[in-house]
């Protein structure tokens, strides 16, 4: 059953235009002109209950704007959307009880007080009886390994602990739909892993639907079977992560270590040269040319070490976005 349905969703922002210099400033003061920017343009998709979907795109692509429309924070300019059976922008209390949005770079917890105080407000606002509040608090505290951290002022917590406390605050009312905007932003590897593990368990235990944006591919590969790619406000891919990689990553990464450095001009003839650092060279080679090219490299050069791997997913996605006019 689809819990999120989006049809032809568009968000247009009026952006003021100002020319530089005094003349521009005066013109801007007396006669302000605007141009319309389509932050999100005509996107459609459905998400089934219990799915975890990764939302990928470069900065300014429209990911956060879409999440904000889905969470009911901003009004769409055009199109239809329904989340858990509700029109998000009406922000009806029953809708708000069923959804939550976590923004990695923003915090809702009161900075100078222990997180427990903010949680008490949330419990009252979401009308959780005391016994239920205590039960959920115990459960989520254990899942997030936050024991004895909730009584410390939020400002005294580490970034990772704070993010986990933010997640606890956002999930106290057990939302069915969870929107996550960069939930692991700035966290170290251990904290990123802890947040990912928690989200996986939360999704499995409560069949919660999760839509997540992240710059860390680790988040996407660890959690999402399905990904959506958005670029310049348009949805350019919606499907499985495996298919995306198969379709857009017909490359293998070849790393070689030479006995002595060779000029770049000579190396480029073998394939797409990704980097050269002294004796360490990285190529991206098309799969169908892999064997013959590796043979040529081994014949022509003195190679100490050679390895062939799949390119990192960051490279694949980055490459895809760099192909601005890619036909998909």
């Amino acid at each position: 059953m689809d819990i999120i349905t989006v049809e032809n969703l568009t968000k247009i922002y009026p952006v003021p235009i100002k020319q530089p210099g005094l003349k521009g400033t005066l013109a801007h003061f007396f006669r302000r002109t605007y141009r319309e920017v389509k932050a999100v343009e005509n996107i459609s998709f459905q998400i089934t209950t219990g799915e975890i979907v990764g939302f990928l795109g470069p900065n300014g692509a429209g990911k956060t704007t879409t999440l904000k429309m889905l969470a009911g924070l901003i009004h769409p300019s055009l199109g239809n959307l329904r989340v858990a059976g509700y029109l998000p922008f009406r922000r009806q209390p029953k809708f708000l009880q069923k959804t939550s949005l976590v923004m990695g770079q923003k915090q809702q917890l009161l900075w100078d007080l222990p997180a427990l105080d903010s949680l008490r407000i949330n419990a009252a606002v979401y009308r959780l009886p005391e016994s239920q509040f205590q039960r959920r608090l115990r459960e989520l505290t254990e899942m997030l390994s936050l024991e004895d951290k909730l009584t410390q002022p939020v400002r005294k917590l580490s970034l990772g602990e704070r993010m986990k406390a933010e997640l606890l605050a956002a999930l106290l009312h057990h939302p069915q739909v969870l929107f996550l905007d960069e939930p692991t932003l700035g966290l170290d590897v251990n904290a990123q892993g802890a947040v990912r593990d928690f989200l996986r368990v939360y999704n499995e235990r409560y069949e919660a639907t999760i839509l997540l944006t992240s710059h860390y591919m680790g988040d996407i590969t660890a959690l999402c079977k399905r990904v959506m790619l958005i670029y310049e406000g348009k949805l350019i891919y919606d499907g499985s992560l495996e298919e995306l990689l198969a379709r857009f990553a017909p490359y293998r990464e070849v790393k070689i270590e030479l006995t002595q450095p060779i000029p770049k001009s000579k190396l480029v003839q073998y394939g797409e040269l990704e980097s050269v650092e002294g004796k360490q060279v990285r190529f991206f080679l098309r799969r169908e040319q892999l064997t013959s090219t590796v043979n040529r490299i081994l014949t022509d050069m003195e190679v100490l070490d050679l390895s062939v791997t799949d390119p990192p997913i960051e490279e694949v996605i980055g490459r895809l976005f760099r192909q601005r006019n890619a036909q998909i």
Binding site: K68, L73, R91, Q97, M103, K106, A124
Partner: protein, 262 residues
């Protein structure tokens, strides 16, 4: 109803704890409201040399009353709200099934409780310096003053929160407060009691909301003659007007909100 009580209790107790964290700042805020004490010095001296319709002792009592009333009607919602809109922090409040205004109301009321213990010290210190100004207001006057102060706070909050709605359009709504403050300064009775105004100015002022923020509660506690019925009617009328204006602006403004930075 049970949940409303629980929500009020949770918001008030947590924001009280928050305010107590800033106790030094609250003390300084209370002290910063000492302008009436300075004006008292000016007016008591002036009253000794001219005819203003009030005796020097009345001016002293008036300005200490103004000092007390002002402690209870301090409102800063416009700055908070503007920041929330500009920095996108309003988003968190919008995600919860409770109107964002209640957090601001709770913050203001909790701050009053945090400020409360400081006021008797400051008033006591004043009477120590000026013992001839000591007076004992009647119980009915204290009661009426409490009602008037509560209404003054409500109206002032509502008015400033309504101006704050313009943050959705201008993002610098606090500038409106500066214009509004000009009228507030002259017509509220903060720098001079309404009794010293020319009769026509006084008559016009009494149809605006401003004298009811400070002059009216202060006059009640010191026993100056006031038209209680007219005051309540004018406050109520402005309150209703600003309530509907506020909700109208909110409904339109929220459609303009873009959650910048969040």
């Amino acid at each position: 109803m049970k949940w409303l009580f629980k929500q009020a209790k949770a918001l008030l107790s947590v924001y009280y704890a928050h305010m107590v964290e800033y106790r030094a700042e609250v003390f300084l805020w209370a002290l910063s409201g000492s302008l009436p004490i300075i004006l008292m010095g000016v007016w008591t001296t002036a009253a000794g040399e001219g005819n203003f319709g009030l005796e020097p002792i009345d001016f002293a009592r008036y300005f200490i009353s103004v000092f007390i009333v002002r402690q209870f009607i301090v409102v800063w919602v416009i700055w908070e709200f503007e920041k929330e809109v500009v920095e996108g922090k309003l988003s968190f409040a919008l995600l919860q099934p409770i109107d964002p205004v209640w957090r601001h109301v709770a913050m203001h009321l909790s701050e009053r409780f945090a400020r409360l213990p400081i006021i008797p010290f400051l008033v006591g210190f004043f009477f120590l310096l000026y013992p001839e100004a000591i007076w004992f207001p009647s119980i009915p006057n204290i009661f009426l003053c409490i009602i008037a102060t509560a209404m003054a706070f409500t109206l002032r909050f509502l008015l400033q929160y309504t101006l704050a709605m313009f943050a959705f359009w201008t993002e610098r709504a606090a500038a409106l407060e500066q214009i509004y403050f000009l009228f507030y300064l002259f017509l509220s009775g903060l720098i001079a009691p309404l009794e010293v105004f020319p009769p026509l100015v006084r008559e016009i002022a009494l149809w605006t909301p401003f004298p009811y923020f400070i002059h009216f509660p202060a006059a009640l506690i010191m026993g100056l003659p006031v038209n209680f019925q007219q005051a309540m009617s004018v406050m109520l009328a402005w309150g209703v007007l600003f309530f509907f204006l506020n909700r109208w602006l909110w409904r339109r403004g929220i459609k303009k909100y873009s959650g910048m930075g969040a």
